[in-house]
């Protein structure tokens, strides 16, 4: 059974609900994909592995987790998420669990201050009706969006495509207005010193670098 998102729109003292099924849109589904495979000189497929810092152990797979100050493992249940100020972050439910209320709006300029990480096309019998409503708006409906639930929801937007309704989600970035005094500096990477030219040709005389015509 496909999962559905429920959108609630208050209009003229009545609440309309739109239950729609999201389908993820990404490059592999639209354009195909390519992958890089390591092979040896005979075309045999190679497997990726790692060697540890001692250079003695070939590691096939690793896991990750968290340690406390004493170096003991912490289970997921022991972890508490906090923001940069150390304040606890509340847990938010998945957007599939509660209706998404369409009341907050964002301007186009506001939308363009976000990097979009996920795109979904919304299907359903009444998708066309909500598409028509969204397309008629000057601004975009926006809302907190979290596919699986968690501690830091992204910002979701409803976008009217040519004949499809899309939900996109992402995070806001910081952009600054720059005045003349805010001049930046391009990182310059020093070119390595060119090796000195060897006019003694000592390497060739010692036989290490024989060339045709050498006596």
């Amino acid at each position: 059974m496909p999962r559905t998102l429920t959108f609630q729109l208050f209009k003229k003292r009545e609440t309309r609900e739109f239950k729609l099924e999201p389908t993820k849109i990404d490059r592999p589904r639209l354009y195909g994909r390519s992958e890089r495979l390591p092979v040896d000189n005979y075309g045999n497929a190679l497997q990726s592995a790692a060697v540890d810092e001692r250079g003695t152990t070939v590691i096939r797979s690793t896991g990750s987790g968290y340690l406390d100050a004493a170096g003991r493992w912490l289970s997921s249940a022991d972890l508490r998420p906090v923001d940069s100020e150390g304040r606890p972050l509340p847990e938010v439910p998945s957007s599939f669990q509660e209706p998404i209320v369409l009341e907050e709006r964002a301007s186009l300029d506001d939308y363009y201050e976000h990097e979009i990480s996920s795109v979904y096309v919304l299907h359903g019998d009444i998708a066309a009706e909500l598409l028509h409503i969204v397309a008629a708006q000057e601004e975009l409906f926006t809302f907190p969006f979290s596919y699986r639930g968690g501690h830091s929801p992204e910002r979701g937007f409803l976008i009217a495509g040519r004949d499809r309704l899309f939900l996109v989600s992402g995070r806001r970035v910081q952009l600054e207005y720059l005045e003349r005094v805010d001049s930046g500096r391009i990182d310059e990477f020093d070119e390595p010193d060119e090796p000195e030219l060897d006019f003694s040709f000592s390497a060739q005389r010692s036989g290490r670098g024989r060339h045709e015509g050498d006596s």
């Binding site: 390519s34 096939r60 968290y66 186009l108 300029d109």
Partner: protein
């Protein structure tokens, strides 16, 4: 900050600064029940000595693996499993488990249905943003209202000036784009029709320049996109 060789509508070009716009909110950190910061760590799960291929070889065939698993724990490396890994280097192994010292890369292309289309030697794309050929102002404006239904911005970079001349150069672009309330399509290559590749081996993106001004201050954002807004076929 990295550089970008950019031309304007008059085909004047200049080297300007380019930097990824930072996220407004930092990623959450984790603390333990006492409020002390938890440290992330990576640990060993399996090693070459416990690889399935080696276990099968030692057992004499897959049909004998169950028996040796009952008799012992050949799948666990008691010396190394669970050990914290502070740093590691990637290597590649041949089918027989030996380390491969010469590695080539094949690129395999699949269509949207997952069918393999072709294989070839992988050639990394060369960067084309700070090369001798400037990134071109194509002259193709795209209204913001129209752009919102066309593509999404996967990456946002900010352009910045490095001296007085480039300040005037970029401020002029931003003012023009704000006046038109539009993006400008930028392109790489001699005809300006190639996507931008920021670093060698990196992914190609379509690039759209957005500009705003506030008095003598300006803001130029480079929106990189590799995804149109359209349904799967």
């Amino acid at each position: 900050m990295r550089s970008m060789n950019l031309s304007d509508k008059q085909r004047r070009d200049a080297l300007v600064g380019l930097e990824r716009a930072p996220a407004e909110a930092e990623a959450p950190a984790f603390v333990d029940a006492s409020g002390n910061q938890a440290q992330s760590a990576r640990f060993v799960k399996t090693t070459a000595s416990t690889a399935y291929e080696r276990i099968v070889a030692e057992a004499g065939g897959p049909e004998h693996v169950a028996a040796i698993l009952v008799d012992g724990d050949p799948e666990i490396d008691f010396e190394d499993t669970g050990r914290i890994v502070r740093s590691s280097r990637r290597i590649f192994l041949r089918p027989n488990g030996d380390i491969a010292y010469q590695v080539r890369w094949q690129e395999v292309e699949y269509d949207a249905t997952g069918n393999e289309q072709r294989r070839r030697e992988w050639q990394p794309l060369e960067a084309n943003v700070s090369a001798e050929l400037p990134v071109l102002w194509t002259g193709r404006y795209i209204e913001k209202r129209k752009a919102v239904g066309m593509f999404v911005s996967s990456r946002v970079y900010q352009l910045s000036h490095v001296n007085g001349l480039t300040y005037e150069f970029l401020h002029g672009m931003a003012a023009d784009l704000q006046r038109r309330n539009a993006f400008m399509l930028l392109g790489g290559g001699p005809r300006g029709d190639e996507p931008l590749v920021l670093s060698r081996g990196g992914l190609p993106y379509r690039a759209f320049l957005e500009g705003r001004v506030r008095g003598r201050a300006y803001r130029l954002a480079l929106h990189l996109s590799n995804l149109e807004l359209k349904d799967v076929p």
